[in-house]
Amino acid sequence: MSGLAQLLSSHGLSYDFMIKATFYFVAGLTLLFALLVVLSRNIFHVAIYLAMTLIGVACVYLYLDAEFLAIVQVLIYVGAIVTLFIFTVMLTADINAGSVGAMIGRVSAAALVSLATFFILTHIITMTTWSAAPPAETSVGLPQLGKSLMSQYALPFEVISLLSLAALVGAIVIGKAQKR
């Protein structure tokens, strides 16, 4: 890391500045793709934009020192869930014809509600005084994460495995073709 910092400072850039610049670039790109997810009219393109948004969120996790979460995000969301979405799009919708866009009458009301939500949240966040910087050396490593998952959070871990099993069986039962 210090080598990278030296290389950057030799070009007149500070390491801190680069961190900030890349974060705001990634955050802006994530929000752009999220808007495309909501506004695009082709449902197949929406699935691709969703994958890009999820990769952007994984990059944001990296800025929060959550490397394991970033990898899990890419593996499970982009690898599994988006693939599932694409399969469902292929199996159901006529991609262009009926699946387009939004109900026209509802768009303005929906925009009003979501903009109001955003401004209320923004107001609350900017009013509150947050701690300026994280306490020193708070990054949680993978060993620590695994340890607390196996000791302190062992019961929720088992419950979630049961939930996954139930979802698996439920999906098979619901998706099975009915006999006529």
Binding site: D16, I19, K20, A27, T30, A34, V37, V38, I43, V46, A47, L54, V57, V60, Y61, L64, A66, L69, V72, Y77, A80, I81, L84, F85, T88, L91, T92, A93, S99, G101, M103, R106, V107, A109, A111, V113, S114, T117, F118, L121, T122, I125, W130, P134, P135, T138, V140, Q144, Q152, Y153, P156, L163, S164, A166, A167, G170, A171, I174, G175, Q178
Partner: protein, 102 residues
């Protein structure tokens, strides 16, 4: 260092975009995708608070892990329902699905 409020603002913006999608999408699959956006916004908030509160055991990250697992389960069941509905009524546009309306 990037201040905490900027991560929270990113989460708020992502949540609002997902909310807009849930309200306006006519395709059931599109609604499920917008719900995934909302869950991701919640995850960003959880991990932000986990980092900036300085809890050493990573409770927020584990909570986010559980959210991801439950999101996967809900997506599987939701998409199965969509396929089942499509098989029965040949459409997944939610204003055409009125089987259980009066």
């Amino acid at each position: 260092m990037i201040p905490q409020s900027h991560f929270l603002l990113l989460g708020a913006a992502l949540f609002s975009i997902g909310l807009f999608g849930v309200f306006t999408r006519r395709n059931a699959i599109g609604i499920l995708m917008s719900i995934e956006l909302i869950l991701n916004a919640a995850n960003i908030n959880l991990i932000t608070f986990s980092k900036f509160s300085g809890s050493p055991d990573g409770t927020g990250q584990i909570f986010a892990l559980f959210v991801i697992a439950i999101a996967a389960a809900s997506a599987v069941v939701g998409l199965c329902l969509v396929i089942s509905i499509y098989r029965n009524s040949k459409t997944i546009l939610i204003n055409k699905i009125n089987l259980m309306k009066w």
